[in-house]
Point group: C2
């Protein structure tokens, strides 16, 4: 009999049905996390954590990505030694049609207005 | 010479240009505040604080309305002895076109799904 031992490299993600709007909005209520969200939306694919040049420490960066993952905004997976990140567009679009695109547009518009 | 003394009954609101997306999303990231937001959107007008039957104490209720006001989501004004609340739809639609309606729709959809 084999016993399944969860790997420390497997990252926990909420299933679609457990994603909550409040937690999604909380995840995006921080300027650093909102900028990561915007960049991932514009990339239209996966980006590694090391791609992001954020004005915070490495441990704070890890925290921000964890909040985004645990709220259901992003999916994280290891590819070799890199931790890759992508928006959970299918899940968010299914739960909240049109919301993700409008959140991205609002973030882009604000960044342009404030000169970020 | 007269001196203008701010009345304690005048409530502070951020001007449109100081409303920040992050703070709007933070304001809506709490279940009680999100339910107030949804009810105000459905009312399509002003509602008094006493209209809301919230599962929290009076002081917590006051706190939640203040967070909604200070983030720019709602406008509060005294009418006689009642404190009235309304969404700042014009300001939010101007800053973030389409976002408010999609946030309302997402909140309504989630409430229906979860049976709230």
């Amino acid at each position: 009999m084999t016993t399944s031992v969860p790997s420390s490299r497997e990252l926990a993600h909420p299933p679609r049905g457990e994603i909550r709007l409040e937690e999604v909005l909380h995840a995006l209520s921080d300027p650093v996390r909102l900028s990561v969200f915007r960049e991932l939306a514009e990339a239209e694919g996966e980006l590694s954590c090391s791609h992001f040049d954020l004005p915070v420490t490495k441990s704070t960066t890890t925290h921000h990505f964890r909040v985004l993952r645990e709220s259901g905004v992003i999916r994280q997976a290891y590819r070799g030694t890199a931790k890759m990140n992508g928006l959970r567009r299918d899940d968010l679009d299914a739960l909240f049609p049109g919301l993700l695109d409008h959140l991205v547009a609002a973030a882009v518009r604000q960044a342009a207005r404030l000169g970020d």
